[in-house]
Symmetry: C2
Subunit: 404 residues, 2 copies
Amino acid sequence: MRCVTTNRDKYVKYINPRRGYADPRYLNVNPIQRGGILTEEAKAALLEWCDGYSVCDFCPPQTPRLDKIANPPISEFYRDLAEFLGMDEARVVTRCREAKFITFKMLGKAGDYVVLDSLAHYSSYLAAELSGLRVKEVPNSGYPYYKVNPEDYALKIEEVIKETGKPPALALITHVDYLYGNMVEASKIAEICHQYEVPVVLNAAYTAGVSPVNGKELNVDVVVSSGHKSWAACAPTGILAMNEEAAGRILKPSAIEGDVTRRSFKFKEVALLGCTVMGAPLVSLMASFPYVAKRVQRWSEEVEKARYVVEQLERIDGFRQLGLRPKMHTLIHMESASLYEVSRKHKRRGYFLYDELKSRYIVGIQPGLTKHFKFNVYGLSWDQVKHLVRSFHEIAEKYGIEVR
Amino acid sequence: MRCVTTNRDKYVKYINPRRGYADPRYLNVNPIQRGGILTEEAKAALLEWCDGYSVCDFCPPQTPRLDKIANPPISEFYRDLAEFLGMDEARVVTRCREAKFITFKMLGKAGDYVVLDSLAHYSSYLAAELSGLRVKEVPNSGYPYYKVNPEDYALKIEEVIKETGKPPALALITHVDYLYGNMVEASKIAEICHQYEVPVVLNAAYTAGVSPVNGKELNVDVVVSSGHKSWAACAPTGILAMNEEAAGRILKPSAIEGDVTRRSFKFKEVALLGCTVMGAPLVSLMASFPYVAKRVQRWSEEVEKARYVVEQLERIDGFRQLGLRPKMHTLIHMESASLYEVSRKHKRRGYFLYDELKSRYIVGIQPGLTKHFKFNVYGLSWDQVKHLVRSFHEIAEKYGIEVR
């Protein structure tokens, strides 16, 4: 054996503590972090269920599958989760991207197309690639609004039909994108896709768990989401909710059989590889769920904060919010030409903004960026929102940028 | 919104606390749980890194990938992990079964065969099925030893060649199986497979992290293991370690490209869907790693405990250890015809054994079983081992079974 056996300090030093990020004085406005902060209930549950596959001690031997565990109430949670999202069946998987992969793999055949919006997250493309699917992108309107036009889904479906003689295996809608925080007209897109009998997957990574999302009302077949992004849960947790028809195809039982032993595993769901999140992160998701189910009702106030921040930051000369207006989501992308001008002469170059924000206990905007940057105000108190705005105003004034 | 929004107690009541299982007076001898108990360092790290994708705050923007994060030292950990397992590259994925799926998917083509031993875990079959592979099973000798004969891998490879005109895409070796805790002669099997140029995957879910496993010495191409089973980490964590050649094929970069945006993601590893365990469970694995690297050196003492338990339990009339003798692993499968006889007349039927053990603070043997059952003594102190043995002797005597 080697150095790792003795160099215990190397790991412990770095791993614990998480420096400024865990310090409650800091606001972390990283777009991916605002919806994933654990509740106190989740933290308590985490320590209780941290060991290995803790929940598997309670797996029923006759129906051995994660979703059949009654105590802790995983089985009931899955039913609640499906109902909460307006769908018929739900499973917790290891990541939203895995939920997409599972859906693509089970609803598509190698070589099929998936039509997706051009603001889709990279993991949507990788999920398609790993499933052997090809992609057709629905364009967006580009700078400064980046709008996805629902009717363009029809054009891309037609393009697939022209090329292959049949509609795409499915369509993916990014409910709110990672770049501009634009919300698309999901139900309109779903209606268009369904006219071609194309099943629709809603990527609700940035919406479900923070805002009300009802798959039935939006008329989609599958809703996927991210527990660590938007459900106050630990990574890695993904949510896969389906209507009955999609569930029948996605949760297909295993059909493989051993040639010698004749063993088969018909009770196991093949695309889930049997079981998925067998411990702590699932329990964190469950423990936070009552809180999450409540917080989505306060979404309009969150949007109000986002609009307030945009209005106040656009008072700074050279600032302009990119993406659709008015904001319908708390992820904000800001163009900031004036800060870029400062950075060109500053000895810390673009890092000056990071330094200035950090000295005001604000972190999570990508270090080095000034020309444009994104952040998320979800879950900030009004006091914190005002501190954020005041900080930007102070920084602007410090560098001689006008605040109107 | 519905009842879940208000019924907070329903979840909290069941989730916290974990009843007897978290009570330190209880010994949990469930075969899958002994190697997954967290260290104190891992628990501390868990709370520090519990929020959402906590480690992603430290992702380098120019090389955005989990394995490139330097602080916390994920990058260095992956190198240490590879070296610890005698391999060239390592990744942490969400489960051992996902590591198998990734390997099968990237080393095989749909319709190819994988040759595996007939004691392989069900998830090995599902990983093959999801990858579109077929299986050929290497038989075992059956009751009472269930021995897998290394030479039989050659017979199955020949069978595949005869059927398809080419060797299987790969061979899987279950290093120690979940049922009898038999250890196979991995290096001998690998040598046979390599004579046919078949790449070899070692499923070390029950060995790596508790005992010394060196993929290079065993001459295998890929080692997969389970963090929550054997590395003192939270679920879901899987380990995927590869030699250079296998890594080149398994960690293939994404090649998909958007037809409109021309976006591509060449820096992302497609079969990993980019990133995998982006938070708490990974950090728990890292925090426990120095301890794990040390504990594998004490493996011979763990085996000694297993042999002692077998010797002492076989003093009970009707008890017989199944699987290979002498024990080379701490997972023990015991036949116990005499307890079964008791159960036939007991008003609690097979559950009497569970009740008797629980009253002695021993849990983890499947409730209801008496004819034969399995358990794991890994990591028990000698005092605990003796308590386990004494408990069985007491139970036997209480029901009039002779203890020689």
